[in-house]
C-alpha cells in the first residue's frame, strides 16, 4: 500500500495525484486533528493504535506499519514540518515498540512491523539555508527512528513548483 500525507487544503488537494485509490491511502487535513497528549496509550493501553478516536486520526500507526511506500508533502518553516504533518508524525508512534535498542551507538525504539518503507519527502516554502539544513538533519534522524532505509528529500520554493513536480 502507498501512503500519502499532505497539508494541502481546498482546491490544491483536489488533484488526481493526491487521491486515494485501491492501493493508495491518503492522510489529509480536515481541520479537526487533535494533538498527541503524550499518554503512551498507543503502546500501553491499545497497542498499535492511538486511544483518541474522536477525530478519526487514530489509525496512523497502523497505516505506517502496513505501507511499502510513503509520500510526504509539507510546508517547511523553521526547519520543521507544518503543524498538521507534524501532528500526523507525532501520532504515528504506535508503529514502533516502546522497547529500546541501540542503533549506531544511540538509543532508539524497536520495530513493531516488518515492512520496508520507501519514503519521498517534498517540502515547500520560502526556506532559508539554515532551515533547510535543520530539516535535513531532523529527517535523517526520523529515518533511523522509523527504520526507513530508502529515502529522498526534495525542496520547492512554493506549492505551485511542487505541484508541477507531481504531474
Amino acid at each position: 500500500m502507498k501512503l500519502i500525507i499532505h497539508d494541502f487544503r481546498g482546491e490544491d488537494a483536489n488533484i488526481p495525484e493526491l487521491s486515494a485509490s485501491e492501493n493508495t491511502r491518503v492522510i489529509s487535513d480536515n481541520g479537526k486533528i487533535k494533538p498527541c497528549i503524550g499518554c503512551f496509550g498507543c503502546w500501553l493501553k491499545t497497542p498499535g493504535e492511538c486511544i483518541n478516536k474522536s477525530d478519526g486520526y487514530n489509525n496512523i500507526g497502523r497505516l505506517f506499519g502496513n505501507c511499502s511506500e510513503m509520500l510526504v508533502i509539507s510546508e517547511c518553516r523553521y526547519g520543521a514540518y507544518s503543524p498538521f504533518v507534524k501532528n500526523v508524525f507525532d501520532r504515528c508512534i504506535g508503529c514502533i515498540l516502546p522497547f529500546f535498542e541501540i542503533i549506531n551507538g544511540e538509543m532508539h525504539h524497536k520495530k513493531r512491523y516488518g515492512n520496508e518503507i520507501k519514503i519521498k519527502i517534498m517540502l515547500y516554502g520560502d526556506i532559508t539555508g539554515e532551515e533547510r539544513q535543520t530539516a535535513s538533519n531532523i529527517l535523517r534522524r526520523n529515518f533511523v527512528n522509523l527504520h526507513v532505509t530508502n529515502h529522498e528529500i526534495l525542496f520547492f520554493k512554493n506549492k505551485e513548483d511542487l505541484k508541477g513536480a507531481l504531474l
Binding site: G38, P83, I93, F99, N142
Partner: protein, 208 residues
C-alpha cells in the same frame, strides 16, 4: 527582568510533565526574578498568554522532543507567535528534553526554536538539550547533584546567559547515570505499566 517560562509539553497537566520539573530546576538559578509560567498544550495561544509573552524581556521554552523535533501543538503556537512577537525586544532561550538517553538527540529541535527566533527577528540566546527525560519526573533529586550534575552545569550557563544578555553555544547533556541501567529500568517500566492496564507482555507486540 520579566521572564516568561513556556511549558511546551502537550500533556494535560503541567505538573505531570518533565518540562515543568526542568523549569522549576531552572528557577533555583534565577532568584529574585519575576517569572511567569504558561502552558502551551493547546494548538493556539490565548490572548492573555500572548500579552504576557509580548511584555517579556526573556522567554524560555521547555518542551519534550517529539519525533526528533518540536511537538505539533507547540509548532502551531510558534506560527501565531511569529506574527504577534515580530521584532519585539524579547530574548529567546530553549530547553528540550527527550526520552532516549542522549541529550545530543535534541540538537535539531533546538535549532527549530533558533530558526523561529531568527524569522521572528528576536534575539536568540542559547539552548540546552537534556537526555534521559524518563528520570526527571517523580524524583526529587536537587539540580546540580547526582544524576542531575551535568544538567546543573548547563543551567548555570543558561541562567548566566538569560541574566546578562548573552548568547552562547547550545549545551547537550545526559543524566549522570549508566545508560544500560537507564535502558533496563525503562524497558521494565513499560512492562509494569502494561500489566497495570490489564495487558500481557505479548499484547505489547500486537500488530494491526
Amino acid at each position: 527582568m520579566n521572564i516568561t517560562f513556556i511549558n511546551g509539553s502537550p500533556k494535560a497537566k503541567a505538573e505531570g510533565s518533565a518540562s515543568h520539573v526542568i523549569l522549576n530546576d531552572l528557577r533555583t538559578f534565577l532568584p529574585n526574578q519575576k517569572i511567569n509560567e504558561i502552558h502551551l498544550n493547546k494548538q493556539e495561544v490565548s490572548e492573555e498568554q500572548m500579552q504576557l509573552l509580548k511584555s517579556s524581556d526573556a522567554i524560555v521554552f521547555s518542551f519534550p522532543l517529539y519525533v526528533d523535533s518540536v511537538p505539533s501543538q507547540l509548532l502551531s503556537c510558534l506560527y501565531e507567535m511569529e506574527k504577534s512577537l515580530y521584532a519585539l525586544p524579547v530574548r529567546v532561550f530553549a530547553i528540550s528534553n527527550n526520552g532516549f538517553f542522549e541529550g545530543v538527540q535534541n540538537r535539531y529541535a533546538l535549532e527549530v526554536i533558533r530558526n523561529w527566533a531568527v524569522r521572528t527577528k528576536l534575539f536568540w540566546g542559547m539552548g540546552i538539550g537534556i537526555g534521559g527525560g524518563g528520570m526527571i519526573l517523580g524524583q526529587n533529586i536537587p539540580v546540580g547533584k547526582g544524576s542531575k550534575k551535568d544538567m546543573g552545569r548547563a543551567m548555570e550557563k543558561l541562567s548566566d546567559s538569560i541574566l546578562n544578555n548573552k548568547s552562547g553555544e547550545d549545551i547537550l547533556v545526559n543524566m549522570n547515570f549508566p545508560r544500560f541501567l537507564y535502558k533496563m529500568i525503562a524497558d521494565h517500566g513499560w512492562k509494569v505499566k502494561a500489566r497495570r492496564n490489564g495487558l500481557k507482555i505479548k499484547d505489547l507486540y500486537k500488530t494491526l
